[in-house]
Assembly symmetry: C2
Homo-oligomer: 307 residues x 2
Amino acid sequence: MSWPTLQQLRYFVAIADSGSFSVAADQQFVSQPALSAQIKELERKLGVTLFERTNRGVLLTTHGVGVLKRARVVLREVVGLIEATMHDGKRLRGEIGLGVIPTFAPYILPDVVRSFKAAHPDAELRIFELKTNDLLDSLRRGEIDLGLLALPVFSDEFLCAPIAEDKFLLAMPSNHELAHTKSPIKLEKLRGERVILLEEGHCLRDQVAQVCQLAFSEPSEIQATSMATLSQMVAAGMGVTLLPECAEKVEAGSGRGIVTRRFAGQSTSRTIGLIWRRSWPFTEMFTDLAEQIGKNKRFSQTANVQK
Amino acid sequence: MSWPTLQQLRYFVAIADSGSFSVAADQQFVSQPALSAQIKELERKLGVTLFERTNRGVLLTTHGVGVLKRARVVLREVVGLIEATMHDGKRLRGEIGLGVIPTFAPYILPDVVRSFKAAHPDAELRIFELKTNDLLDSLRRGEIDLGLLALPVFSDEFLCAPIAEDKFLLAMPSNHELAHTKSPIKLEKLRGERVILLEEGHCLRDQVAQVCQLAFSEPSEIQATSMATLSQMVAAGMGVTLLPECAEKVEAGSGRGIVTRRFAGQSTSRTIGLIWRRSWPFTEMFTDLAEQIGKNKRFSQTANVQK
DNA sequence: CCAAGACATAACTAAATCTTATGATACTTT
DNA sequence: AAAGTATCATAAGATTTAGTTATGTCTTGG
């Protein structure tokens, strides 16, 4: 008897569900040849062809249908084993996967990790930097257990809890004309400014773009691949940007050639929050955690939870 | 979420069942540190200690008990998947493990493989040379699916089917006084001869020793580690031995300095047979196979199935 | 107090797995 | 039709995982 591996079964189910090696490969964060090889191996061990390969994807064979049903049972049992073991109702333990979006990771992760460790000393955090969409996919498939991202997320597969509000600040080069303004800046001042955005795929880009629209401002053509690049571009005088408050200390600290100013009135912001699978037992663990992080955070002195 | 591997679960169950890392390591044919490492990894991933290590073995912790129950379910489901997939009721397919005892392997394996391939063209044989006890353990644990050994085996976990009788011949150096006898030799002639045996652990050793006892002959102190060594010892004049007929052509072919003679009367023999788990669906596949092998065998022209 | 047996640790080796680059084939678009 | 763009397969090389042998630590029984 030749035993398949759980990984082969996971890959098989992912391909069967998506109907495509390539799509499943993206989902599973491996290359497509890796799947080809593993499925080939699985087929060899079982002695049946599982997929009918076409040029527009793949189709399950009759054998594939049978194996799929049983593979799902196996995987469900394993998930059951894991979920039943990795907590005692109050505290997590073992290896917990946490996904964080790139525009939060460098700034608030330290606080999150600190609060997490305090609340769940027997758990071992494994952190993945993922953009919102990938994060949700990963969460859905059980590759990670917890996400740190900007709320809201509209999906009934998940539950979430807010941690704090993260206001947007105007960030400009030190020699900018608005740099010497003492009072909060009105949103309308954005009009006519070249606002640099992050590249596609970052939720922060969309949020900032939306604010620009609100101010009838046309964002710059220039795109930055990361917050670090973005702030350097601003420092270099290529334009201004809306910097999340949580990133202020790191990206606009003294001596970096960047000045930040708050906006006047009802300020625009994004909500920092935790998200997890609805199926996770004991949701309280995570709502409590979100509250603790909000309470003990250091990344932003002024932000306050908006209920 | 961090996934355990099926291998870790198998190791875990083996250790839990045997109550010892070392014993389980032997069973699984890996070294004890390999188990230590895998269990450590499993414990890390789950965040619980599974065993209480003592100096007289190990004991399941309360967490261990819970995981054990679920791990069994997982493994059972996987076995179900495999067994449901790897045959269509008539023919096997995929990777089939066959265990063969060392005193059969070199001589009758070719015939077995030939018959097997003819009957199950879509299956891929994977052959393991194992002494009877290890073979049965392997079979029990699903590492192999089929065994080729000397019957009878007393255990209701297994089913078996006879293939052929394998008579014992007297093998002696060409210059031996009995070498020129034309007629079958009486068993009593063994008395006084130095009969060389295989080393401990080979079932053939026990069978031959029993025959010697029957003939009131005291086996030699000398032991051979394999049939090949054994026949060379005989050729070198160190003694005589009882050679299974199936090995005659290979070990006592012309020019090897060994002469073989049949015994008179009701000849002593061992039964060549197939064995498999009782739980295997469609036993007919294997009884048919045993019959085919017996019918198409070439390793021994004179042997006949004794029903 | 020593020897034996149990599991853990360390250093090294072997094997399984993944990645990148490339190939083959069939639709789609121009 | 020719070119382009999907698809999955294959190949070569790098990486990671798992396993082996040798050794250490601790307990127990003689």
